[in-house]
C-alpha cells in the first residue's frame, strides 16, 4: 500500500472531522445566539476569549464556590471534582464530546451554577461565550 496515499486518505477523513468539532453543540449555541440577539440588539456573536475570561473569573457571591474553576479546575481539559469529592468529566468538548448537546441539561446547570457562583442568572451572551470557549479546547 502506497504510504503517501494512505497518509492523504487519513488527512482527507480528518479535515472534515476537525471542521465538525463543535458541530454537535451548534443547536444549543444557535438557540443562545437567538436569545442573545433578543436580549441585546448589538449582539455580534460569541467569543472563546470572552468565554475563557468568564470561566476563570472570581466572584464574591459565595465563599464555597467563588469561581467556575472551584469544581471544574483551571484546566477544562482535565477532570474536575465536586465539593463532595465526586469526579466531573472535563468541560472541554474535545475530551467529553457530548458536552453542551442537551439543551435542557445545559440550562439546568447554567441556572444552578450561575446563581451559586455569580449570584445571578447568566445572560445568553455569557452562556454562548462559555460554550464557544469549551468547544475550542
Amino acid at each position: 500500500m502506497n504510504m503517501r496515499l494512505a497518509a492523504a486518505g487519513v488527512l482527507a477523513v480528518m479535515i472534515p472531522a476537525l471542521a465538525y468539532a463543535g458541530a454537535a453543540q451548534k443547536p444549543v449555541l444557535d438557540a443562545y445566539a437567538a436569545q442573545a440577539k433578543a436580549e441585546q440588539a448589538s449582539f455580534a456573536g460569541f467569543s472563546a476569549e470572552r468565554g475563557k475570561a468568564f470561566f476563570l473569573a472570581k466572584h464574591d457571591a459565595s465563599a464555597e464556590t467563588p469561581s467556575c474553576t472551584t469544581c471544574h479546575t483551571n484546566d477544562p481539559t482535565k477532570p474536575g471534582q465536586t465539593r463532595a469529592g465526586k469526579d466531573l468529566a472535563p468541560m472541554a468538548v474535545s475530551k467529553t464530546p457530548d458536552r453542551f448537546t442537551d439543551a435542557e441539561k445545559v440550562e439546568k446547570w447554567f441556572t444552578r451554577n450561575c446563581q451559586s457562583v455569580i449570584g445571578r442568572a447568566c445572560t445568553a451572551q455569557e452562556k454562548g461565550d462559555f460554550i464557544t470557549f469549551m468547544a475550542s479546547l
Binding site: 459565595s62 464556590t65 465539593r83 463532595a84 469529592g85 465526586k86 446563581q115
Partner: protein, 160 residues
C-alpha cells in the same frame, strides 16, 4: 461423627445469622432506589440511601435546594415532586421507624444532614476526632465512596 457435623453446620449458620443482624439494615440499604432520584441527586455526590434520614429531614432538604450545602441545586417541579414522593416513602421513619437509624434522634430535632445523625457520628466518631475526613483523598464527610467502595449501590458493609 454426625453430631459434630451438625454442630459445625449450626455454628456456621449462627455466624451468618449474626452477620445479617449486625450488618443487615445498613449494608443492604435500599437495593433498587428510584431512578429519577438517582439521576438528579448523584451528579455531585452519591444518591444517599433514603433510609439514612427521617422524612422531615428530606422534606427540609428538598424545600431548600436553592441553598443546598452552599450551592444551588434547584430542580424542575416535576422531578422535585417525584423525588419527594420517593424519599417520603422510603425514609428512616416511613412505614414504622428504623430503630437503628433513628436511635437517639429527638422528635423535636430535624437533622440537616446524614452526618448529623447520631447513628453516623457514633460509627464515625473516632475518624472525626482524627480529622480523617480532611485528608485530600477523602475531601469531605459527604464523600462516602472514599472508604465505602460500594456506597453508590447502597453497600456500606465494607470499608477500605
Amino acid at each position: 461423627m454426625m453430631p459434630r457435623i451438625l454442630a459445625a453446620l449450626g455454628m456456621i449458620a449462627c455466624i451468618f445469622g449474626m452477620g445479617f443482624l449486625i450488618m443487615g439494615p445498613v449494608s443492604s440499604a435500599n437495593p433498587a432506589p428510584d431512578p429519577v432520584y438517582v439521576k438528579e441527586c448523584s451528579a455531585c455526590h452519591i444518591a444517599y440511601p433514603s433510609q439514612f434520614l427521617p422524612k422531615r429531614s428530606w422534606d427540609h432538604i428538598l424545600g431548600s435546594l436553592d441553598k443546598h450545602f452552599g450551592e444551588n441545586a434547584t430542580l424542575p417541579p416535576k422531578s422535585l415532586a417525584s423525588i419527594k414522593t420517593y424519599l417520603d416513602g422510603h425514609a428512616a421513619d416511613s412505614n414504622g421507624s428504623n430503630s437503628r437509624i433513628m436511635r437517639d434522634v429527638a422528635a423535636s430535632q430535624t437533622p440537616a444532614r446524614i452526618t448529623e445523625m447520631p447513628f453516623w457520628t457514633h460509627i464515625h466518631g473516632r475518624l472525626l476526632a482524627r480529622h480523617a475526613f480532611d485528608a485530600p483523598k477523602v475531601k469531605s464527610v459527604s464523600n462516602c465512596t472514599a472508604c465505602h467502595r460500594g456506597a453508590a449501590s447502597g453497600q456500606f458493609g465494607d470499608e477500605d
